[in-house]
Subunit: 342 residues, 2 copies
DNA sequence: TTAATTTGTGCAAACGATGTCGGGAACGTG
DNA sequence: CACGTTCCCGACATCGTTTGCACAAATTAA
């Protein structure tokens, strides 16, 4: 299976490459018979246009770039799944870049993606990213851009996110209804949009139930495997220690589960635990983990759809909006204290 | 931050593009002073060579293609992590393609990767792939190729795999030592190399302990979420039903855990369960899941290293070999029957 | 002094495709 | 008959870079 070019077809048919090119893309100024012969020949040789040459010419590369912090993360890998499905259906290829939560690498990724002439860019910001000038430059070059999950309010672009506020509100409200009053919130870097939204949902729920907000119960960080335990110890030493934990990521929820177990704190008797994730085995953990489900795949799908819409209807500016995908509260035994056993 | 070309540098310095090109790549036939000026100018303009143009010329694209069945799979996403880390260090970019377990898509992916002029290809076969002619063509075009995890014996290339035989042997031996004699083996498509190797390890262990191999205890398939239950029912209806389950994938192990629970079969009292995976929360499941750990990240790293070695020392043929990464048996409560309680 | 070599540089082709011209043939119109 | 149209199609430049070859100037050898 050799790889043939437009020249081969031209030579075979004794016509010029321009004619072949035009025939292939069905230009009206080519004789129907010639067109037929070119098509037939292309078919026979299994001709495929060279995407590299196309990109060089500056036309569409039919590839979209995806830049995200980490592939090895359930949320992101699911999101990619959604992105890829849509892209494939609409004839695009996906080039994936990992920023590894590094601002430097994110910038390098953007550069790379641009020089590889992607038709559009889908980005979830690294946790180090505070400045978004590198993305503004993308916009200035008129390359469509859609942010998902980790977005920045400084960029006037389409964004696709989970309903972080609603999800956090529901989780907190659920804990409050179960009688918890000292709800610790373990979350990630404070400057990320998702962090702020979730915190806002948490506070709104507290307010609704007349529970005072206590700064001491909020912990930010990139908790490594060995950092969760000490942080819990610290919290439990408070004058009035927490009776529930609401975590903002799957990694954190699992870390808590483990750390609490090691400290002989029983869930949900001693403390409740609820995550914010869509970990696929949450229901099989011990105890089964209550959680707020983020529809990762759907977020990816919607983001990809919006991006491709923008790419294809480039002339007419599409409305810029923030799409908020609903989250769902799933209650399992980690927050279901039958009775307050004292 | 405009994007400058070699022409801009040439114009700026009043020299020809060829000179700039040669100066940039440090050709010996360029005056040192000219070189210096070119370098300085390139630095100042933040010049970056256009990878598209380079690829078109047929020279190195400094990109490697990775084709695998599914990104949203813990094993593969970890492997990508390893691949990306190595590639990044050695100055390569990674373009990821998903075959979605489809032979058609795998072929399309190979085509795409080739036409995007990747410098090398890293592949884990789709479960539908029986014929490997499309990969033979890659080799014929002299593009370096390394297979990992799901490999084919029909291809004479470097392969990187987990020690499937050893892992399966260890898992089976462990169950036998625990007194189990009717060990069901739930596995994936029979024609995959990993399936065969694991089955061989299983059989070898049985043989060592003088336990007869029973075809009825082996089940192959792409078990969807609703298929595991019925299959277990079927097994439990055998004259002598299984007293242990050894599954060949993480998805299967989790499926079993759930299905067994629903059927009120207790683990490990009624039946033992051991997986073959490196699911990161295996120890937090209920019960904690015994498992054979596959070092996914390491497999990815080694595969990427081998590939890049081949790309860079292309002239001298490197030895073709199969690298087998050791697996590790981890015993947890899902196989630890304190006593045979009757 | 003349010829040969070395050194540094530019010209032009090439990679694969597209798009802008412009031209030849066939036809219609005045 | 001369001219304007229309219909098809080919020559050529272009995208950014590399590379073989030519060529001038400077240096060395004879």
């Amino acid at each position: 299976m050799e790889t043939y070019t437009i020249k081969d077809i031209a030579r075979e048919l004794g016509i010029s490459t321009s004619t072949v090119s035009r025939a292939l893309r069905g230009s009206y100024e080519i004789n129907a018979e010639t067109k037929r012969r070119v098509m037939e020949c292309a078919e026979r040789l299994n001709y495929r246009p060279n995407p590299i040459a196309l990109s060089l010419k500056g036309s569409a590369s039919r590839a979209i770039g995806v830049i995200l912090p980490q592939i090895a993360n359930y949320f992101f890998s699911q999101a990619i799944n959604g992105i890829e499905a849509i892209a494939y259906n609409r004839g695009y290829h996906v080039i994936i870049f990992q920023s590894q939560e590094s601002y430097e690498r994110e910038m390098a990724n953007v550069q790379q993606a641009m020089s590889r002439k992607v038709d559009g860019l889908l980005i979830s910001l690294s946790s180090e990213t505070a400045d978004v000038e590198h993305l503004q430059e993308v916009l200035d070059k008129n390359v469509p851009l859609v942010l998902f999950d980790r977005v920045s309010s400084e960029l006037n672009v389409t964004k696709v996110v989970a309903d972080n506020f609603g999800g956090a509100f529901a989780a907190t409200e659920h804990l409050l209804k179960e009688g918890r009053r000292r709800i610790a919130h373990l979350t990630i870097q404070p400057w990320l949009s998702i962090t702020q939204e979730r915190l806002a949902g948490y506070r709104a729920a507290l307010e609704k139930y007349g529970v005072e907000f206590d700064e001491n119960l909020i912990r930010y960080g990139t908790f490594g495997p060995d950092e969760v335990g000490p942080m819990i110890d610290e919290l439990m030493r408070l004058d009035t220690p927490p009776d529930a934990f609401f975590t903002a990521s799957d990694r954190l929820a699992v870390g808590c589960l483990q750390a609490l177990g090691q400290r002989d704190l029983h869930i949900p008797e001693d403390v409740s635990l609820i995550g914010f994730t869509n970990l696929n085995v949450a229901h099989l953990l011990n105890p089964a983990l209550s959680t707020v489900v983020q529809p990762a795949q759907e977020i990816g799908q919607v983001a990809a759809e919006r991006l491709i819409d923008q790419i294809e209807r480039k002339h007419r500016a599409l409305p810029i909006e923030t799409v908020r995908i609903p989250t769902e509260l799933i209650v399992r035994s980690s927050t279901r204290a039958e009775v307050v056993k004292l």
